[in-house]
């Protein structure tokens, strides 16, 4: 007889004896079962309460998950703002921005007043082979 055959034989004897159990034994078995069920239910109740306690942490985790994309969007918006700040002065012909032009104008050979002096414009028109552009 191998191990499995022995286990089947024991189970058969136990099952055959169930109907012949005395009432006192049946009562003790039922009481033990009820007590075990009560403990199980109590443990589940505590677990439920604990679950309610963890819902706050769960909310925080969900909050963090939501916060991450919001923070990314915020960073993106700040990046766009800085980029616009840097590029909004770019001229239509793709020249250096106004800030570059300002410093170039002030360090160029031609003085600032030359660009605004109407007398110089006339001088260019009437004393130059090429026509000054307006």
């Amino acid at each position: 007889m191998n191990e499995q055959d022995f286990a089947r034989s024991v189970t058969r004897h136990l099952d055959a004896g169930l109907d012949d159990l005395p009432p006192s034994v049946l009562y003790r078995l039922r009481a033990a079962r009820d007590a075990a069920l009560a403990r199980t239910l109590e443990r589940q109740g505590l677990q439920g309460g604990a679950d309610e306690g963890t819902s706050g942490r769960h909310g925080m985790i969900v909050g963090r998950r939501l916060l991450a994309p919001v923070a990314m969007l915020l960073l993106l918006a700040v990046g766009m703002l800085l980029w616009q700040q840097q590029t909004r002065h770019v001229g239509p012909a793709g020249h250096a921005d106004f800030a570059d032009v300002d410093t170039e104008v002030l360090t160029d050979d031609l003085p600032v007043v030359a660009y605004l002096d109407p007398g110089f414009e006339i001088w260019l028109y009437h004393h130059s082979p090429a026509t000054a552009e307006d």
Binding site: L81, D102, T103, L106, L110, P118, F120, I122
Partner: protein
């Protein structure tokens, strides 16, 4: 106040040396936009490498620039861009013509200014 302005250097944050170099722009500094301020600060770093003549010229130009209205500055920028788009020989000619014009007497210059169809009243 936008973020760019918040990042911009205030006049009080400039070093005494930078303030000295950019003194002609002091009154105008709060109105200068942040990218422009940054460029001017960069100019101060190049300033010590300039010859005394270049330094004097820059000081004069800054004084002239700070006296201009926003419309006049826009006109200068536009004409400067047009000048940069011209062939080098044309740019050289315009510079040479300026030297000739600059050597005219004030009366001759005024006469030419009066001849301009859109001539504003001459500045003092």
């Amino acid at each position: 106040m936008c973020l760019g302005e918040a990042l911009a250097q205030r006049w009080s944050q400039l070093t005494p040396e930078q303030q000295s170099i950019l003194a002609p722009l002091k009154e105008d500094w709060p109105n200068i936009e942040p990218p422009h301020r940054k460029k001017w600060v960069e100019v101060t770093s190049r300033y010590p490498t300039m010859t005394p003549e270049q330094q004097e010229r820059l000081q004069t130009r800054m004084r002239q620039w700070s006296a201009l209205s926003p419309e006049e500055r826009a006109q200068v920028r536009e004409r400067y861009r047009m000048l940069q788009e011209m062939p080098p020989e044309r740019r050289d000619e315009i510079r040479r013509k300026w030297q000739e014009y600059d050597n005219l007497t004030e009366e001759e210059k005024d006469s030419l200014r009066q001849a301009h169809p859109r001539s504003p009243p001459p500045k003092p």
